[in-house]
Symmetry: C2
Subunit: 303 residues, 2 copies
């Protein structure tokens, strides 16, 4: 993988993202069981979830952090894909009738609408388990780094991370909104997994601990900014732009940042987080350009 | 942990199982988030699933394999608990309305009946993720062994193992029964996870590869015997003995060994598998007594 170089503006970020999206999607295809291998229905459902036009934000963050930390070779690719497998599992389970009950995701029927609820539960389970399997089996990295990556992914996505945030989110529905509850939910549900993707890239590169800490801080801030931007898009976006139903947070009594402080203050907070995230990586100069550009992209995106 | 010694008959196995069950349950309690830590509802649901009077067969198999392989110290305890966390997650998801739709498990309402479907899905997700986390963080073992354990657990329980078997099982419902389909389902759904528990114990002990292979073969055979015994109990057991509904396999058109070859031939096949499993470990003499006794227990149990 070549280290990205700063070029002029948006066109440069676009080509950076497109190139890495392509590399990630090729690797995902290699790492996942073939669609026609038995049981085909499971593998089809897993692939349906994964290959649905996602932004691949998490794996690209992992790659960009790996590049910043001076990593070379393809050692980051499998861990980067693991973050996307975990992200996809979380969407498949989140869309279930027992959870958010969404029929549409990225403009297509959700996994359980196509394959049934039972298979969707199992496809999610399979994606999560496969994420740990591919990292453990990835001989492009020394055992110590693979183990640290497994640990980080599990911690950030399990009870102390994403899963904990999801339950807290469900619990908070209909309760009196508070910024402390929102902070608890967001830092676990979105902050931790996105921060983990960044840290995973740093670990894969063998980054020293102070660099890992700077990247972790960048990741948490970008993750929180992403969640606020997502909540804002649920208010201001259209279903066509988003490829999924909008306005559902309010309908559901979900606690959101815009719901508590309003759209304007939320947008300001997201921009502030992005500036802080950029400051985290600014000391790394030119090598930080992709992470800086991605941070800006996160609050400026329209879907 | 002391190495078990052969004593006279059933009383000896009973005390062996009881002692190890106690040790495993204490370790599970230490490894899991406290019930009152936020989000409490998640941790309560996870603990409700785990502390429900299970036999702890998988962790005890891991410990017995560790002992056979000459392991000493507490290095097997966390990986052993990981097998139980994974087993519990699979039961919680399996009981969901979208899957087997069971209201009763070990004589108590199933997790989703108590905590709701959404939380049950997430509790299962949390247990699975926590299993990988505790192994990765367990500094009682060198990194190489922890990584090999993560790999084995993921492989045996993911798309190529348990999750694949579950989907194949759902797919097979109502189809023309065949021994080859049953073999595909059983080897993945039950054989692979139980074999993995045995192998995890061998890895934790640093067993040489031929010993690992013998233990893997033992585990697969015991796993298949266990599944056949389970299917037989669904035909011959009572709901009171089993602590769950019985006769459901037939009701559901589920493909089972007794359904294809009859109860008598199934019982004979289970006994044959147990004798073969015992032969796998017999070369290890006295040190194999616990695994031999557990193998016999599996086909003789009444619940």
């Amino acid at each position: 993988m070549t280290t990205g170089r700063r070029a002029s503006g948006v066109a440069s970020l676009e080509s950076y993202l497109a190139e890495r999206r392509r590399v990630v999607e090729e690797a995902l295809d290699r790492l996942m069981p073939p669609a026609d291998a038995p049981p085909a229905r499971l593998h089809e459902a897993m692939r349906y979830g994964v290959f649905s036009g996602g932004k691949r934000l998490r794996p690209i963050l992992a790659i960009a952090a790996f590049e910043l930390a001076g990593g070379s070779g393809s050692g980051v690719l499998t861990p980067a894909c693991a973050t996307e497998l975990i992200h996809t599992y979380s969407l498949v389970h989140d869309d279930l009738p027992a959870m958010d009950d969404d029929d549409l995701r990225r403009g297509r029927p959700t996994c359980h609408k196509v394959f049934g609820e039972g298979v969707a539960v199992l496809a999610g389970d399979g994606l999560l388990t496969l994420a740990f399997q591919v990292v453990a089996e990835d001989d492009a990295l020394p055992a110590e780094r693979r183990l640290a990556i497994v640990q980080k992914l599990a911690e950030a996505n399990g009870p102390s991370g994403m899963v904990g945030g999801q339950v807290a989110d469900v619990e908070a529905e209909g309760q009196e909104p508070s910024l402390s509850t929102i902070g608890f939910v967001h830092s676990r549900k979105t902050g931790a997994p996105i921060a983990a993707a960044v840290v995973v890239g740093a670990i894969a590169a063998g980054a020293p601990s102070e660099q890992q800490a700077a990247l972790a801080s960048y990741g948490e801030r970008v993750g929180l900014a992403f969640q606020i931007a997502d909540d804002l898009l649920d208010v201001t976006g259209t279903a066509e732009e988003m490829g999924k139903a909008v306005g559902k947070d309010h309908e559901r009594g979900k606690m959101t940042y815009p719901g508590v402080v309003g759209a304007e203050a939320s947008a300001a907070r997201a921009r502030e987080l992005v500036e802080q995230a950029i400051a985290d990586v600014a000391p790394y100069g030119e090598r930080a350009w992709a992470l800086e550009a991605i941070a800006r992209f996160i609050v400026e995106r329209r879907s």
